[in-house]
């Protein structure tokens, strides 16, 4: 929770202040685009190296996943191990029995004593912020309820940058669950740090973006517009960001039944768009993208998944104050 300012001399000879060291990562909105640029420069470098590095030798990274997750947890674990850190985890059964036995505050204090960085996923909104207030060591939010998933947003933005060379000036369509989907919302928050040409959001009626969030985004100057049908705007899109419907968040299973399968991205749809159109998805996907898309030139979600490790390696390095 304590972070210091650090002056880093970049290759360009420009002195830039980065505030990554010992920093908590709770929301993508806590970052500036300059900070993300630094992160992406690191990721560019990590993509080129193979095998194990020893940048975090002697450090311990703890993974506390109070909600099931395979992809995010593995990606963090691989990132930490490739940097030479030791990893301890609380997952699955163990996590649920801890959650029954003691409060989160005490669990965080324990992890704070054993490790240098805490990576937390929890079903309560605000859990990571709360943990960051308790822990002295940095806390990284790996998803808090329906709210934030900042490292996913970093990966998504980096994927766009890798594909198009820039995040600014593009037309984005975000399709899916904008009510319970923290990945989609974090991506949208992330775009608000940039200058997209246009951002269309398309969601089933029950899963529309909350009005107060839409207002705040408009006030931040994001050119965001709601649409009912993705077919209306697919021809303009550079990036189509698709998410699955978050079944586990529905208070009522009947509500889920009403919206499941309400949108599906097919090759047919994509062929109405630009030939350079790219489809992103934070994965896992269920049936919102037709399998035929997977092997087409539009699919960028496997690249996106691969970029998870270098982006998380970058974040862990920067938070640890490691320069490369």
């Amino acid at each position: 929770m304590f972070y210091s300012l650090q002056i880093v001399a970049l290759d360009l000879g420009i002195k830039m202040i980065t505030s990554f060291k010992n920093r908590d990562v709770v929301s993508i909105l806590d970052f500036t685009r300059e900070e993300l640029e630094t992160l992406f420069e690191y990721a560019d470098k990590f993509r080129k190296v193979e095998g194990k590095l020893n940048l975090l030798n002697g450090k311990v990274v703890s993974l506390a996943f109070f909600e099931p997750s395979t992809r995010t947890r593995l990606s963090f674990e691989v990132a930490a191990k490739r940097l030479g850190a030791d990893v301890v985890s609380i997952i699955g059964e163990e996590a649920s029995s801890i959650a029954k036995g003691e409060n989160l505050a005490d669990t965080i204090r324990m992890l704070d004593a054993y490790s240098n960085i805490i990576i937390l996923r929890h079903r309560y909104e605000g859990a990571a912020k709360y943990a960051a207030e308790i822990a002295e060591n940095p806390v990284i939010n790996a998803g808090d309820g329906i709210q934030h998933h900042p490292t996913q947003a970093m990966i998504d933005l980096y994927t766009v940058k890798t594909l198009f060379g820039s995040i600014d000036g593009l037309v984005y369509v975000v399709l899916g669950d904008l009510r319970y989907g923290r990945a989609a919302m974090s991506f949208i928050y992330g775009l608000s740090l940039y200058k997209p040409k246009k951002l269309y959001v398309v969601a089933p009626q029950l899963l529309r973006i909350r009005n107060e969030v839409l207002q705040i985004l408009k006030e931040r100057g994001l050119p965001i517009e709601e649409k009912n049908d993705v077919r209306e705007i697919i021809s303009e899109a550079d990036v189509l960001y698709v998410t699955r419907i978050q079944r586990e968040r529905f208070p009522d299973p009947m509500e889920y039944e009403k919206v499941r399968g309400s949108y599906i991205v097919t090759l047919d749809l994509l062929e109405k768009g630009k030939s350079t159109l790219k489809v992103l998805h934070p994965l896992p996907k269920v049936d919102e993208i037709d399998h035929k898309v997977d092997t087409s030139r539009y699919a960028a979600y496997y690249l996106q998944a691969r970029l998870g490790v270098p982006v998380r390696m970058s974040l862990l390095s920067l938070v640890s104050g490691v320069e490369i």
Partner: protein
């Protein structure tokens, strides 16, 4: 008839205590509720509803003998009646007079309406915390889960 005259005509001045003035009309009873004042305390209390006011058109006034307000109570009043002024009376004389102020950060006063907000988690030693987005319109955002709370939600969210 001016409101000043109404004061003196209808309600005797108090010896020691607090006068909460310039309450938006209709909110005085809510204030008594959040201050947990039932009348059973035995103090003399005067509540004036819908009196004329130059500033507000109509306003409510509360006079409480003996009771002094804590700063936490003053903050709660600000959330319900942001225009209120507080007069501290000693020996029939106003010795202190100030406007309530909506704080930038409101801690432990209202609970978050989101059941899966960490601030509502059982057995967790956590206090609710809201940031004020608009003092005029009374709009607040939960610091933990970003849920927005507005004027109309406040009363039912006050933690007693």
């Amino acid at each position: 008839m001016s409101s000043e005259n109404i004061h003196t005509l209808v309600v005797p001045k108090i010896l020691n205590g607090t006068v909460i003035d310039h309450i938006p009309a209709g909110r005085a009873l809510d204030i008594l509720k959040v201050l947990n004042i039932t009348g059973g305390e035995g103090w003399r209390i005067a509540v004036l509803l819908n009196v004329e006011s130059k500033k507000l058109g109509r306003k409510d006034i509360i006079k409480i003998e003996r009771r002094k307000l804590t700063s936490a109570e003053v903050n709660v009043i600000a959330l319900i009646a942001p225009t209120a002024t507080i007069n501290i009376i000693e020996n029939f004389v106003v010795v202190e007079k100030f406007k309530v102020n909506v704080p930038e950060v409101i801690e432990g006063v209202i609970r978050c309406p989101n059941p899966t907000c960490i601030s509502n988690k059982e057995r967790e030693p956590v206090k609710s915390r809201f940031r004020t987005l608009s003092k005029d319109q009374l709009i607040f955002r939960c610091e933990y889960c970003s849920t927005i709370v507005t004027r109309d939600d406040i009363l039912k969210l006050i933690i007693r």
